[in-house]
Symmetry: D2
Subunit: 389 residues, 4 copies
């Protein structure tokens, strides 16, 4: 499974082509729309989240609600585009001397603006920010929704939540089941499991907004039901935990990724880190604890996968930072595009999506690729072999 995404933030549409999804997967637009809606929720989102209710169109690869095995095209229109046709149109300006509006010559600290402009030789940095915008995560969530559907059919479930937000840390994050986790976080405006800190988190967002500032946070993704032995230790680039790290770090504004106890592993002795192995006839091999977060040797252990990522505060601030105008080389206080003051709850949905993608892709590759029936059967056989191994 592989996919390409495309689309500018104020262009006509976002598109993704997903290649390699097995045939025989039930898939309807609402499977994807639900996830798109989850991405648009969250306390502290800006105006755009209200004006655009993202809706996907499936324009290839699915027939009568079932995947064909051929590439799947998903389209999400930017309803805003009607106001931007002159600024973002693909066709040349009729009047070559017309002044392009909304030209950006002032790079914002923390954004791709300046590096991208130098790289691609753009004097108008709108040419960069239209693509580097987190708007792109819309179709990564769409692709992730397809991946989640694959996983669900194969008995694998995904959940996510916000662990930390602007310095406020969730403390009671236990849950009985992924179902419970999903229910609780779905009704929380900050996707937090800990009812007690939820309000403090929302206040942190409001305070940041009042200050013209922004805040980041830590999100966690949990995946249950993955079979043992997915990924491999045999070559460094076959390690599935490494792929997850890349996926997490590739989300806009993410600066770190960890698995299991992660950085905490530097502070504990080995005897309090490694997970003891047990076996019983019903469940086969399991671990007494899950400090490894579901991975040993770059492979799944069969225990829940636990991945965390950190998102930096959104770099577009009303409280400006200094920068330099590339035309005049003069210092200015960085310009502002419309912006959220905190996108961490949404980012937790994006994190679920990119993790789901890597796992679904790894499962499909390992267990048969072509059609869901065969993959399901192969996984059952594998699980059975693993149980009595």
């Amino acid at each position: 499974m592989r996919y390409l995404t495309a689309g500018e933030s104020h262009g006509p549409q976002l598109t993704t082509i997903i290649e390699g999804v097995p045939a025989g997967l039930p898939l309807v637009a609402d499977d994807i729309n639900e996830e798109l809606a989850r991405r648009q929720k969250g306390h502290g989102r800006g105006r755009r989240m209200q004006i655009e209710k993202d809706q996907v169109q499936i324009v290839s690869g699915v027939r009568h609600g079932v995947t064909l095995g051929s590439p799947i095209t998903l389209v999400v229109e930017n309803k805003d585009f009607t106001h931007w046709t002159k600024i973002m149109g693909a066709e040349p300006l009729e009047d070559e001397n017309a002044e392009v509006k909304r030209v950006i010559s002032r790079p914002r600290p923390g954004h791709a603006d300046l590096n991208g402009a130098i790289k691609y030789n753009h004097r108008d940095m709108r040419n960069v920010l239209e693509r580097s915008s987190a708007r792109e995560t819309t179709v990564r969530v769409a692709a992730g929704a397809v991946a989640k559907k694959v996983l669900k059919e194969l008995g694998v479930e995904v959940g996510g939540h916000v662990l930390e937000l602007g310095g406020v840390v969730a403390e009671n994050t236990t849950y009985e089941s992924l179902d419970e986790l999903r229910e609780k976080t779905e009704i929380s405006p900050v996707r937090c499991l800990d009812k007690n800190v939820e309000k403090t988190m929302m206040e942190a967002i409001d305070t940041a907004k009042e200050n013209g500032d922004s805040i980041g946070g830590v999100v966690e993704v949990i995946v249950e039901g993955m079979p043992v032995g997915v990924g491999s230790y045999t070559h460094y680039d076959n390690k599935l935990d490494a792929k997850l790290a890349a996926a997490i770090m590739s989300i806009n504004a993410f600066k770190g990724a960890e698995i299991g106890i992660g950085f905490e592993a530097a502070r504990r002795p080995g005897s309090e880190v490694h997970d003891e192995i047990v076996w019983d006839i019903e469940r086969g091999y399991t671990r007494r604890t899950n400090n490894a977060g579901g991975f040993e040797g770059g492979m799944t252990t069969g225990m829940p996968i636990v991945v965390r990522g950190v998102m930096k505060p959104i770099p577009t601030l009303y409280k400006p930072l200094n920068s330099v105008d590339i035309e005049t080389k003069e210092v200015f206080a960085a310009s502002i595009e419309r912006s959220d003051s905190c996108a961490v709850p949404a980012a937790s949905v994006v994190a679920e999506s990119v993790v789901a993608w890597e796992l679904a892709s790894a499962l499909v590759n390992q267990f048969g690729q072509d059609n869901m029936d065969v993959i399901k059967k192969n996984i059952v056989q594998h699980q059975e072999r693993a149980r009595v191994f």
Copy 2:
């Protein structure tokens, strides 16, 4: 640039083939041997580090001390192999009924043993651990040494150090230059910049050893001299910081990766995170701070790259953890291969190597691929364009 590594821990040799190194790079065995020696140092290493002084042979791709542009083969012999020919030989046992010695049916918690055995259907888990062993990092360091040579020729320097070890945190980690950092860490038995905690770190290692336990830590890699605009925001899998995260996470026993201030970004407001942009005629665009660790939008900013990774304690303990014998399904206290009690200083060299690889590879891809002269010239032109952009 791409490479494959091969070799079992007690097999005859480790090998790597590196494809895509430009022609015209000066390269001798000692460039690589120096890095191999650095990897073998460090307080707390076990017996093997003493018995095997790794030496590389360059058996293709280099002629008269200069790369040809054709694939480079590096070989590091396992001197130990003479004692292991019967156990690890490639040829079938002469007597088919002969009992294989050193069969391992007891998976060690924290290792690839069990997952790997189930995946590849091995009853003797030696078939797993011989490859999943961190011995493999020897040739990753070798490949990294070639990458460092490429970087050096292109004006890019790499350094690394240990930030944290078994809960002991380095505090004074400032340095004037990468040269100073390298000098200081090279003479430190724990590769630590902070003279004051060095001794405490060594004691932590010794204590762990006495307890039959092990400890992990945090390492940091710094890279100076990278041009702006390497990597890209245009597609998620073009982001260079994501590739670094994968590279770090793919090192044996690593459980997390972060860039710049990393997880700290969850605790600070945006106004204290993003790096203000300044410009002057000599240096072009730079940043007042470097919280972003050299990356915005998945691209280099031209500021130093700062990457950290966390290594869990080595999972082979003398203080045993419970596990299950796969033949009897009975509980046992996990078996012990010879082991170090702390490999974090060595891991910091491995981290330098894998980071160097990704950066060299990205530079070569972007600036011309074929021969060092052209790449150098292209980078100079790029830097000049960037300066006055």
Copy 3:
């Protein structure tokens, strides 16, 4: 540069996302529409070519007529889809028990129908043929049009013509320049350079049609202006001629590919095959002949690239071949979708497109990737170095 294509033959649209096109390339829809129109011409095309005049929409990656460096999305609507919404819709049938129309249980010899149905476990082979249809080549031509634009900017020109058709062989295929070749073939209903056989070729098509039969042919692509040294001998999968062979063979119904004198090389002694090398100060190194078709050692020689491919007759015949109904296992005479009796002239446009893609991609990879200005400058420097080498 890489791209994915998607879309079913009677689905709503064909889509391609093209990633890695450098920034700064002038590109408008008409650049692509022209090529789409060329693909739809040719004596012997069926009804569909008349009803659908393909038109592209550029919905990402281009702004004001210039590429941004971000992924380019091209959409070509299937105007036919309005009549097929019930049969090809993505949404589930409202009435689950409704009979799906146009179900295909009878695989056609020469098509992907049967192999694809078994692979993906489809009882309705429409699920296969909708994607395996040559309709997909529409967006490969669209991607090729972008590649041609890249090449043109870099001084590289592409032409194509039909060499053989249903056993009729063009004899006089000399041309003064690619411009002349393009002019002549553009007005030929069979894209043939040889005026004398053109009529015979058309008659062969007509005769085949009358007989309910179909015919194939041989097409040739010529590319002038490629710099020397693109591709590489250093590793087998770096060879550019091998990539061209794959590209040609990947076109629907193609069964062979050759470069330069191709299979003729089996019949001549070496002394009449290899091209003597000459040098003069103006043009640098050239060859006295071009039997190698522009490639030695998997690299360009700087001489014109000459690639040929053979297309088998379209496998959908009115004159039926026997096959087996997969539901009844009974023999039947193979069913007919609407069809052309000869698509070789169109296939010659497709062949140009896929060759252009591989060459543009190789050039961009080797000479700088990011923006057209830098690539152009790097190629000029390379050409200058090559001239006086």
Copy 4:
């Protein structure tokens, strides 16, 4: 499955690392040595084939005669190297001013010499020809031997023969079984099935040799036992026939590739090209003929795979062609390395190898990757499903 090869023609050794071979495959050096010996046979080979009897060493990935699932390293020493240490050594010359011997400043027509020298900026073209030499095919044959072993275990057999040589065409090329084909060709000095033309072929080689000339030819590879539905029509780069074309074209000196009736398809009407489909309970779906050479829609049909390639005459001639000295720019008659006058019989072994690689790789990818037991079982299930589909 993927592999890298390395090694210069007169360097110390050739090496390949093969990654992704499933665990549990029986493999001994002799499996590979047999194929290496086959590559060295053939009427018309030069001196080197006599002096070097290639022998492989397996130095990783195999234990006690069975693959581990970890990367396999194969080494073939160049026994010649002892005489070339000064010329080809990796270490810098002790005396920097020492004149390097055997410097080549005269590019040979038909070789990579000139293009490669310009590309990699080598003034001594030995730096090119040492790698571009067909000596590299030794390890491609070694990798192919591993692939053949995989195929054999999965019930797939490979054969190859010479169809045409210097204009002499084999006419009676029928065979009852691949076993018969292999027996007959193995004892033929030109690997030809047609006893009647064998002698004429040998004479053609002798005549070429006497004339200081060389000849090429056409080889054919046949593969029986491949299951239906390997490869895919869903995306152009998933087509397995296209991968075979690339593999064939990537062999040194190959200029064309065709599948089934290949270029002949341009001369026959569709009704005489497409293979009628039949079904019976024992064999499932088969075809009455096999003009498609085992491929429809980029996928296997389950019929024998038939692939042909054309090799140009070896470009190193005693009868010299004109070229230009790059130092003086003066015309000269091209220099001679030691050479065979015909390598087509050997190339037929190489062709088998590269085809075997692509097919084994595709099978392993599709049917389970990890261990041979699971793959075998999955293929049996697939075949059974296909039979009654």
